[in-house]
């Protein structure tokens, strides 16, 4: 099919400014009104009422009915058809994967089909919900992707639902890291494609790069027409991007959306390597205070006058680039940044003679990542390694922009309402909150807030011992791997057995998390670990009071805290949760004391009761992150508008 090889990336949704954005905000508030949720539930009840019609059919009849709906949807999905079709699809799901979707899930599926961001409590069966909606959308045969957070979930969800999709006459494909181009092309050609946002964006960028040399539209079309005869690797792999359902939408659309995806290729640059050796040699002769000062909050380095002179005198005889003061200081500063702020074992590890970046939150090594041009090499040289060829960016797009390009976007998550305004402002995605199927009986204990960290850990250990004594399983959420390790040591001291999530394999991670509900288990995990996996409780554990979740530190946003607490008390299970915080926790220090000691609000806030301070700190860091995201978006848009002549991303 030559036709599906030519596609144009839609223009991103507009961003509004000034009064327009105020107006747009009002529209968003209207779009999020509670009546939407009620309407969805009402419609879902209607779908539920339609169930007997399809229950009585045999498989053959049901298949025929589904085929009928498929042809309707291919032409134009109508509202009436939507409800009936959903009822049929639900029946199909029941027959293939054995789960009968609840009314809430039906409402969720409708919301996804109608372009909402659905907030559903964790453990309500989002995978199935997405599956139901995916059938409705997939029938339209437009490019459609279901995106989730990692390759493991992609594979798990796609294969779990495969019989269901097959029953509904939907071809399903999946794209995971390491897939070959042909596999990718095949998968993207399916009606529903499971993938991660990274893979999809990477495919898109690579496709665009292939088209780069055909600058004008007419040239591009000419090329497309002749393409079927071309080499396979000259063709794009995507059919286009049109519709998407995003799982864990808040973390994909918000938390992880700032970092752009960069496709780079190594490119030898001898002069840069030489300059980096020089810089490294020079930096060894500088000392803090005398020659430079370090600003740790902003990760910046300032040279003193003496430092400037020293740099100049040392680099006097060196060639080219060292002649210019600005370039020279940039190089030295970079080398210093690599030396001061990037620490072996924390930000990176050395593996097989290579510097491998470690994800600060998950503790996972990320071999495919590299730091920006020059910095990576500077760190390599610092470690005494041979500098690699600097990689050169060949294509780049931020996730924010990427998601704004979809014609129809919808998503699911357990926690979205805190960010409803941002999601509307940036993605024009209205959030709708659906109730849980069974009432949640999780008990949220009073927060424990101590003045210093030591007493916090003491309190945490006391709590662990007490709950463990009852035989209840405990899940301890941490901000990053370092804290996890620290807790591990303390548990060792206390003589308790525990599981710590530092696995490098996602499937293993999921297994550990899935077993965290067994009696007497203690599981230590970063909050990101094992997302999308249910923690199922042993029957006797339920009687004891269910899983107990301990948050050892408040996160930058309340959303992430809520995600963690959501791990217990799923689907009406019993469960308890408690947050521990101390005045020395990173976010409080960063938010209240971080930038400056004399910040007027700091003085003010120290008068506040401690719980307020925690909330305040969280509010500040949330706000900061939001501003930063907006700034990235704005810079992104500026580039886009001002460089639109370059006709690429």
């Amino acid at each position: 099919m030559a036709s599906d090889q030519f596609y144009q990336v839609p223009k991103p949704r507009p961003m509004y400014r000034g009064l327009d954005s105020v107006m747009h905000g009002w529209i968003g508030a209207y779009q999020r009104r509670s009546a939407i949720g009620r309407q969805l539930l009402q419609d879902a009840e209607a779908v539920d009422a339609l169930a007997p019609r399809f229950e009585v059919m045999n498989d053959h009849e049901l298949r025929a009915a589904l085929l009928e709906f498929r042809s309707v949807f291919l032409r134009r999905p109508k509202h009436d058809a939507e409800l009936e079709a959903l009822a049929a699809v639900r029946e199909a799901a029941f027959r293939t994967v054995g789960l009968k979707a609840f009314v809430v899930q039906l409402a969720g599926a409708l919301a996804l089909n109608r372009g909402h961001l659905v907030e559903m409590a964790t453990g309500e069966g989002k995978t199935l919900t997405a599956g139901l909606a995916a059938v409705l959308i997939g029938w339209t045969r437009k490019p459609f992707h279901v995106m989730t957070v990692n390759d493991y979930l992609v594979a798990r969800d796609a294969s779990w639902l495969e019989p269901f999709y097959e029953f509904c006459r939907i071809r399903v494909g999946k794209v995971v890291g390491g897939a070959s181009e042909e596999e990718r092309r095949e998968a993207h050609r399916c009606d529903v494609t499971y993938t991660t946002s990274r893979e999809l964006l990477a495919d898109l960028l690579r496709d665009q790069m292939k088209n780069r040399d055909s600058a004008t539209r007419s040239r591009r079309i000419l090329k497309q027409m002749t393409q079927s005869r071309m080499q396979g690797n000259q063709r794009g792999v995507l059919r286009g991007i049109h519709m998407a359902v995003v799982d864990e939408a808040d973390s994909i659309l918000i938390d992880e959306a700032v970092t752009p995806l960069i496709i780079s290729s190594p490119r030898p640059n001898e002069s840069l390597k030489k300059a980096i050796y020089h810089a490294d040699a020079l930096v060894r002769q500088l000392s803090e205070r005398d020659h430079y000062t370090v600003q740790s909050t902003y990760k910046e380095i300032y040279f003193t006058e003496a430092g400037r002179q020293k740099i100049e005198s040392l680099s006097h005889d060196w060639p080219g680039i060292w002649k210019s003061e600005a370039r020279r200081e940039e190089l030295v500063r970079q080398a210093l940044v690599g030396r001061v702020f990037f620490l072996k074992g924390k930000q990176y590890i050395v593996q097989d003679g290579k510097v491998v970046i470690v994800d600060e939150f998950t503790g996972r090594p990320m071999p495919q990542r590299s730091w920006r041009q020059g910095l990576h090499q500077a760190i390599e040289v610092k470690e005494g390694l041979k500098p690699s060829d600097p990689s050169e960016t060949v294509a780049r797009m931020s996730f924010q922009r990427f998601f704004r390009c979809f014609t129809k976007l919808s998503g699911m998550t357990g926690t979205a309402r805190e960010s409803a305004r941002e999601l509307w402002r940036i993605y024009q995605l209205p959030v709708v909150c659906l109730p849980s199927n069974k009432p949640c009986i999780r008990r949220q204990h009073q927060r424990v807030i101590t003045t210093d960290e030591a007493s916090k850990w003491h309190a945490v250990m006391e709590e662990i011992k007490a709950v463990h004594h009852q035989g209840r399983p405990i899940l301890i959420g941490t901000r990053n791997v370092h804290v996890s390790e620290k807790i591990g040591e303390m548990l060792d001291e206390a003589g308790l057995r525990y599981q710590i999530l530092n696995a490098t394999r996602l499937s293993e991670e999921a297994m550990i998390v899935a077993r965290a509900g067994e009696k007497g288990r203690i599981t230590v995990a970063t909050n990101m670990a094992g997302r999308g996996t249910d923690i199922k409780l042993d029957p006797d554990v339920s009687a004891l009071g269910g899983l107990h979740v301990i948050a050892t530190e408040p996160h930058e946003t309340g959303r992430v805290d809520r995600q963690l607490f959501g791990r217990c008390g799923r689907q009406g299970d019993p469960g308890t949760a408690r947050m521990f915080a101390s005045m020395e926790d990173e976010i409080i220090v960063r938010a209240l004391k971080g930038s400056e000691k004399s910040y007027p609000m700091t003085a003010l806030s120290s008068l506040l009761p401690r719980p307020w301070m925690v909330n305040f700190a969280q509010w500040i860091s949330e706000r900061r992150a939001y501003k930063q995201r907006l700034a990235v978006l704005r810079a992104d848009r500026w580039l886009e508008e001002s460089l639109s002549f370059s006709g690429q991303s």
């Binding site: 060949v394 501003k627 001002s642 002549f645 006709g647």
Partner: protein
Amino acid sequence: MADNQQTFSESWHRVANQRIYLRSSVRVRRQYYRGERWYVLENPVSNQYFRLRPQAYEFIARLRPDKTVEQVWEESLETNPDEAPGQDAVIRLLAQLYQVGLLHYENPEDSAELFRRFQQRRQREIRSKFLNLMFIRFPLLDPDRFLKRMLPIVGPLISPFGFLIWLLTVGGALKVVLDYFPALKDESQALLAPGNLVWLYAGLVILKTLHEFGHAFFCRKFGGEVHVMGVMLMIFTPIPYVDATSSWGFSSRWKRALVGLAGMIVEVFVAALATFVWANTGAGLVHNLAYNMMFIASVSTLLFNLNPLLRFDGYYILCDLLNYPNLHQHSAGQLKHVVKRHAYGVATSKSPTDKKSEKTILVTFGILSHIYRIIVFTGILLFVADRFLLIGVVMAVICLFSWIVAPLGKWIYYLFTSPELDRVRSRAVGVTLGFVGVLLIFLQLVPLPHHFRASGVVAAENWAELVSQTEGTLMEVLVEPGAQVTAGTPLLRLSNPELSLEMRRAEARLSEVKMQLLQAMSFDGVDVKPLLFQRQSIEERILVLKQRQEDLIMKSPIDGIWVAPEVEQVIGRWLVRGSSLGRVIHPGGFEFISPVLQDDVDRLFANEIGSSEVRLFGMAEAGIEVTSMDIIPVEKRQLPSRALGWSGGGDIPVTQEDEQGATTAEPFFEVRSKLGSSGDAHLLHGRSGKIRFDLKAEPLLPRWIRRLRQLLQRRYQL
């Protein structure tokens, strides 16, 4: 885009393999500003300009169709590693040039983007039109061809020879003006009379049209194109304008300045011609028109056009002469920089200039122009509000928003959110709050002494008007005016022969009545009663007449000095009863009577008055102390002396109806202050002067608020 010093950019790939270069139609000129070299790129299609530093231009000039941006960049790095722009700088530069439409690129695809930008620009223009409500422009026609055709005729005048003619004409006119100065001054009073407004406007339109053609012809003469001519609504008054911005591309700053001056050159020349016409015609239409043109050409030229503080011709001329374009923006930038750098401690803040002398110029200009603008606009606002209350209110709201609320909001937003301030935010917030706080405390709490002045007249505390009690001819002045007299001293003698005749008639009538009475009594007393009444009335009449005869000798009512400056002229004249002939003034104490208008009297009632002193006109150096003061709590409308009213040369508005000029337009209160020792000053009854009331110290803010409210109340009855 945070730091343009970066050598490498993450977005470099966007431009690296592009083949971009300047459009072939782009014209490049080299210019010197303040001794620095710049390159001005001109897009002749859209009439847009872009100024580049030599380093940047060097890079841009290297761009060629057969090389990619990357290749060009590497080339420039090799040849000039020190000056070559970093990747970020290149991207920004290309982006800017692209937005001005100067670049040729190979992707003609994104017309949607182009269209979007066009719409954005249009929106901006419309918005700025509304924000500039007082200077809306409506472009109408393209005068370029007309100018070109006329140039052979007009052009030769733009030359040293033309200047000579101009000089002679203007010189001659100046002489005429000096010769006829008194007449000139007289007529100026009728300038704003309603009947003259039409002529004033007619003169204005003729002059400004010529003025604009002046710009246009000069610009055309020096090679600039003039494509837009239209009408500008300046404070709702339609006035022609031309767009001579193409002169900005001239490389000689003198030519640029000359184009700026052209309007005024023409105007002054026309004014000179008008002066001759005015001097040689009698009152009439031509005379009037000529006069108005003279007036507009001189006043508007000096106040508006030549004044660099507003953004009219003078501003652009100043820019050219200082060789400093965008003086306005840069001075605002410099002011901001001063605050950021020195008050907030933003180390990265950059001044728009590096030279110390320029910094001073910028700061001075910035402050002056702001103050001047506020004054001028407030004046305009009040003027408009007087005429059209609704428009005035709308304008005031717009002005309030765009000058106070919006900048304030922006400033606050900047203070709390700008990443620039991240490291010094506490200082910035502290300094700002501190400053505002101190200012408010000062304004609200620190009492400052204040005073106000009122004009008034000196009056003797004890004096009496000598008024004729009866009519008569003044025969004789018995005591020379100026002499000390005691009460009862005869001062004037009147004579009234009619009075003595009447006296005699009354006496005759009395004796007649007496006779009749006797006669009646001899008969039986029938009709006696009426006669008795008659007799009584005649007797009373005689008494009155006697009194009036006595009154013919006018006597001093009190002890004092007999003052009658005009009495000599009245001798021999018939005076009606009640004529004032002079005064007797007791020299003991003097009062200063000052009418105080309503707005101010409140302050007198509310405040304790500290000391006050009186200074008389002509003796301003000697203050006369006031010992005590009474405010007469009754509204009055009659001035104690007509010298205080407008018609008498004073400063209190009087009504037109009263020909005496002593009835005020609005009621006032009288303040009587007893004067103490006069020192050297010679106190004379009726002498006018000013009294200064020193009020109790009061903070400024409440005072200002009260003033504003009074202003609104008085002008708009709000």
